[in-house]
Amino acid sequence: MEHAIELRNVHKSFGSFSITDLSLKVKKGFVTGFIGGNGAGKSTLIKMMMNLLQPDSGEIRVLGMNYKENEKKIKERIGFVFNDATLYKELDLSDMKKLIAPCYRQWDDRLFHQYCDRFELPLRNKIKSFSDGMKMKVSLAFALSHHADLLIMDEPTANLDPIFRREFMQLLHEVMLNEEKTILLSTHIMSDLSSLADYITFMQKGQIVFSKELHEIEEKYAIVRGKVELLDGDTEQYFLSITRTDSGFEALTSDYKAVQALFGNEVIIEKASLEEIMYYSRGGKADASIN
């Protein structure tokens, strides 16, 4: 089994939003960062991967199995962290653990207490006295304490302070020392991914814009600035999106070398960050078609 998650021709629609004919493979043993603006469909897709939402059509396989036949087996091997806390506020952490721990066959109590110590989580305080960041730490401790093969995290760092966000990323690095583990992490904070992710999947309006290796993105994507006169029907094909101003144009390309060869020193070319790729890709093309 090469892929931890496989989606084939998945359709899902509600109201005006729809995901159409979406196919995606999340490689086993790697960290895949899931990026996209608000309403891009990241959470919907994650919920389908966890069987919280069912697709209208298409196939979803997780850890080589489908939910229809192996729902419990799959969920046994998934650790999850959602952006909103899923905790009973009137209980203390120790009570909460007593509810969750027996549900997993591979629950490791020693590991859970290690994480509680590390995150400085008080076992005897009620959850309602915890800050948002602490609740996220609790979710993370639960997700990591049953030796899950697949960690699915939906914007886990959104409510964390910068210090714990770093610790969190460090922790995920440690988790990934085990080569069997896979992490799928959706986030708005691109800096989280640059140090951690192996693959980046970019979603927009219910579609996958691209799903590529991070180093490939870093090598190939660039922001190009130059005079508007350089643009014509032929040269525009090298760009995914173009913004024209009075002083010139700014464009995003996914073919750094081709643009450099084409324009030479007539333009300024800078490597694009993930944030810039997201920004410039709004309404742009998924791929530049170069004839």
């Binding site: 919920k47 966890m50 919280l52 419990k72 969920k75 959602f82 899923t86 009137e90 009570d95 509810l99």
Partner: protein
């Protein structure tokens, strides 16, 4: 699934003391056992629904190794467990307060079970249909009011049936309550299946 039933019992924690105090209060007020059993079971179950809604419980338990059928079945089972706990507590306290059991208390116990099954059968599918929406909190209150109204309706219906000539001749109390129990059980089972169907088709937001 057993773990989910345990969860439904455990999430109340110290509130069990409050439930016991309420039960004692109603018993001291000399309320009918049918009223006390049905009301206490409904309050405890409503609180479990409420806690799950507040804690994003649908998301939590559906992301864990449980099927939707198990999640629904656990709630239907835990209502019965809670009813048995309420019945047992009433049975234990009754002799202390009144010096012994009324020979007719069995009617009230069966009546309580029938009432809680009928109200659960009616309301649970609606709760699963409207879960994760804010209107659910209003419906949970209505559920309690329905049980209270049901307890009184049950009482007056029994008086009416007893006063008519046909029913007492045709059916003994045993048969009447047995018949009521079987009907309530059948409706409860049907509702159980319906809730599973509704919940399986629901997206968890």
């Amino acid at each position: 699934m057993l773990q989910l039933i345990k969860k439904d019992i455990a999430i109340h924690k110290f509130q069990w003391l409050l439930y016991l105090a309420m039960l004692l209060f109603f018993m001291l007020l000399d309320k009918d056992a049918i009223f006390i059993i049905a009301l206490m079971s409904a309050i405890i179950t409503m609180n479990a629904f409420f806690a799950d809604e507040q804690a994003n419980g649908h998301k939590l338990w559906n992301a864990m190794p449980f099927t939707r059928s198990e999640i629904v079945s656990a709630r239907y089972s835990s209502l019965l467990v809670v009813t048995v706990i309420s019945m047992s507590t009433v049975m234990m306290i009754e002799p202390i307060l009144n010096g012994g059991w009324d020979v007719l208390i069995w009617k009230e116990l069966v009546g309580g079970v029938v009432l809680i099954m009928l109200s659960g059968a009616l309301c649970f599918p609606i709760f699963y249909w409207l879960s994760q929406r804010s209107v659910i909190f209003v419906l949970l209150i209505l559920y309690i009011l329905l049980v209270i109204a049901g307890a009184y309706s049950f009482y007056y219906l029994y008086l009416y049936l007893s006063d008519t000539l046909i029913i007492p001749q045709a059916l003994s109390d045993g048969k009447l309550f047995g018949f009521g129990f079987v009907i309530a059980l059948c409706l409860y089972m049907l509702s159980w299946r319906l809730s599973i169907k509704i919940y399986k088709n629901r997206g968890i937001l």
